[in-house]
């Protein structure tokens, strides 16, 4: 891959720290996250539960819960710091530029409205104003005939345009029988179809950034394979940057360009998919890769990472992986390692790689 900086950055997160206040105490969920997303890439964010991958996504989208507190950091997106935006401005950004899809589509779709209603509403929020001012989506201009030449747009015509855009969106995610689907309610669809509808809804708004949070986790393997295939196909058609959040390294290897590995609120390693799997550098990444049972593995003993994920109310000092790390020495519990480039495009936060370099 290209060197850092030659490609346009869409989003830059620096030193993001987020705490959650719970009855048990202050949970230090994000501990100085640094991440850069390039335009047009599919970036995978992996880690175990509680590592902060979803919280990072929620922070970008401005959807953190009430009991959270952003301690420090900035999220630069198109020249602005998202953390400085008001909640109204964030709402606007979510409508126009950042879309998010979640694990369970059933909790996200409204059960009493048809797919069509929800889909066109979502498109209306994004394009309604533009349509009223005479804008037309290019791909359906001719489908509606020459009537769109007039400047003024009536309610009925706008509805027609939105409907067509909805159909296009469903077709884009390869859903068959889009017309019938527009009239269906969410409960009439299977899990895989619901997830496709969610993806259609998000993509219909042509977001700059699409965050997909564990979107295949609730699906069966054969359906998961279909959704992953869809993401691969869409990648060629879209210009959106996609962040895929998952705990499954297999999913990441199948669809992503670059990967960030998170552990207990820290980004510990960032690299291209090829580099990360061929040459994992952080001891946690190495442990994780060896802990996955794979089909051809036979049944010899798995290498496991000893211990468990730490309690983030009382996180381990400095490098949060040090109590579980097979290579840890005293520096690891005294000074937090920085995320540094070890080779072009391969970043790792570990003292093992700074040993010989003074400091």
């Amino acid at each position: 891959m290209e060197k850092e900086g030659t490609q346009q950055m869409l989003l830059e997160i620096q030193d993001l720290r987020v705490n959650f206040t719970t009855y048990a105490g202050k949970v230090q969920v994000l501990n100085g996250v640094d991440l850069k997303l390039r335009e047009g890439e599919i970036f995978g964010l992996v880690g175990e539960s509680g590592c902060g991958k979803s919280v990072t996504a929620l922070t970008i989208a401005g959807l953190l819960p009430e009991n959270s507190e952003i301690v420090s950091g900035e999220i630069m997106f198109a020249g602005d710091d998202l953390l400085k935006k008001s909640s109204n401005q964030m709402r606007e950004i979510r409508a126009m530029r950042v879309a998010m899809i979640f694990q369970d589509p059933m909790t996200f779709l409204n059960p009493v409205l048809t797919v069509g209603t929800q889909l066109t509403e979502s498109i209306d929020v994004r394009y309604g104003k533009a349509i009223s001012q005479g804008w037309r989506p290019p791909e359906i201009g001719e489908a509606l005939g020459a009537t769109s030449a007039s400047k003024r747009v009536g309610r009925r015509e706008k509805k027609k345009i939105l409907y067509h855009m909805g159909i296009q969106a469903l077709k884009r995610v390869r859903l068959p029988d889009a017309e019938r689907l527009m009239k269906s309610f969410p409960h009439e669809l299977s899990g895989g179809m619901r997830q496709r509808v969610m993806i259609a809804m998000a993509l219909a708004r042509n977001p700059d950034l699409l965050i997909a949070d564990e979107i295949t986790t609730a699906l069966d393997v054969t359906i998961q394979a279909q959704i992953l295939e869809l993401l691969r196909v869409l990648r060629g058609e879209l210009k959106s940057t996609i962040v895929v959040i998952t705990h499954d390294l297999g999913v990441v290897a199948e669809v992503c360009d670059r990967i960030g590995v998170m552990y207990a609120g820290d980004v510990v390693e960032v690299a291209t998919v090829e580099d990360l799997f061929a040459k994992p550098m952080h001891p946690y990444t190495q442990g994780l890769l060896h802990a996955i049972p794979i089909v051809t593995g036979g049944n010899e003993r798995l290498e496991s990472v000893k211990g468990t994920v730490p309690d983030l109310i009382h996180p381990p000092p400095a490098c949060r992986f040090n109590p579980r790390c097979p290579h840890a020495w005293d520096l690891c519990s005294q000074k937090k390692p920085e995320l540094l480039a070890e080779s072009p495009g391969h970043f790792v936060a570990c003292h093992l790689y700074t040993k010989g370099k003074g400091s």
């Binding site: 393997v221 054969t222 998961q224 290897a253 794979i294 003993r301």
Partner: protein, 341 residues
């Protein structure tokens, strides 16, 4: 057929009635398990895989009589478990234990670990003497990799992986021969899952257990099982030794299932999604071969006639009309990672 068979399931059917109308009449059945036969040898680990709704958990619950099967036989060393009267089940239950998926739901939040273990021993009649029970609790907690302090704690003080270890200790408390593991690691993170899987393997050796291991994760089952059965919509599609099943599957469904696993290795060429369509609803199962609606090789015969599970190799059974004729290419899978030096 070897005489080493520990558990033999013959023509097992578990149907759940669907009622409707004001009279609450039964108008159809959900055939969760529909005529399944297989056997488990003594000391082996038999794996059941399948997508959600395929009936794998219902099989396990039927064997343990946690649900009442509609028809069939479950022979445990020759005795039919399904014929035993409910009140005489206790001695059988002591020999057969189950570990559930969710360790947050399966442990009593108001009992200490020791009291849980001792209760299991005394209720099942495995160990009646209190002193002896305490000693065994101490032994068991060590066997699952925890220590004496943990005996006096409550479930909320433990992480998911530790809770699952406690559930394992409780299952072992009755000194069972046969343990059903129903998705025991799907709640756990990868790094912890590996620890629990290793532990289960070690315990199987140590306590000479026979395992029925249920999961939807094909990689986990490959690691844990000697033989594997593949379920789809309440039917057994294929049974074979794990090695053979993964390298040379005969049923198109097994083949597609193995090919659907995301491979944690970007160097392996990306395949297209192997199966189109969705799993049909279990209330409205296709006629003929249940898989024919999604099978790329289906012919008229598959719609007309249901294939039976037939022996196709020395230790290989397949329910497909064309089992030996399809010549399926070997599934695409990942290479084993080598340990970095």
């Amino acid at each position: 057929m070897s005489d080493n068979q520990y558990l033999k399931v013959e023509g097992l059917k578990t149907w759940f009635p669907v009622t409707g109308g004001i009279l609450g009449r039964v108008h159809s059945y959900v055939k969760a398990v529909d005529g399944v036969s297989f056997h488990i040898d003594k000391g082996e680990s038999f794996g059941l895989v399948g997508e959600s709704g395929s009936g794998k958990t219902t099989i396990a619950r039927s064997i343990l009589r946690l649900v009442e099967p509609t028809a069939g036989q479950v022979l445990l060393e020759g005795t039919d478990v399904l014929k035993i009267k409910r009140r005489n089940l206790k001695p059988i239950r002591r020999r057969m234990q189950i570990i559930f998926q969710d360790p947050y739901a399966s442990l009593d939040p108001r009992q200490t670990v020791r009291s849980m273990l001792v209760e299991a021993m005394r209720a099942s009649g495995a160990v009646m003497d209190l002193g002896e029970a305490y000693a065994r609790a101490l032994y068991l907690i060590g066997a699952v990799g925890l220590n004496e302090d943990h005996l006096f704690r409550y479930p909320h003080e433990f992480s998911g992986g530790q809770r699952q270890r406690i559930a394992v200790a409780r299952a072992l408390a009755t000194n069972p021969e046969f343990v059903v593991l129903d998705e025991p690691t799907s709640f756990l993170d990868v790094s912890v899952q590996a620890q629990v899987l290793n532990l289960l393997k070690a315990l199987q050796q140590e306590f000479k257990l026979t395992f029925l291991f249920i999961t939807h994760n094909l990689s986990v089952i490959r690691y844990m099982s000697d033989r594997v059965g593949v379920m789809y919509l309440g039917k057994m599609m294929e049974v074979a030794d794990a090695e053979e099943l993964y390298n040379a599957p005969e049923h198109p469904y097994t083949h597609a299932l193995i090919n659907s696993i995301p491979i944690p290795d970007p160097a392996v060429a990306k395949r297209r999604a192997p199966l189109a369509g969705e799993v049909p609803s279990i209330t409205n199962v296709p006629v003929g071969c249940v898989f024919h609606t999604r099978c790329p090789y289906a012919t008229q015969k598959c719609t007309d006639e249901e294939p039976l599970l037939k022996q196709t190799g020395e230790r290989h059974w397949t329910a497909c009309h064309f089992a030996k004729e399809l010549n399926l290419p070997p599934p695409v899978t990942a290479k084993r990672r080598t340990q970095p030096s």
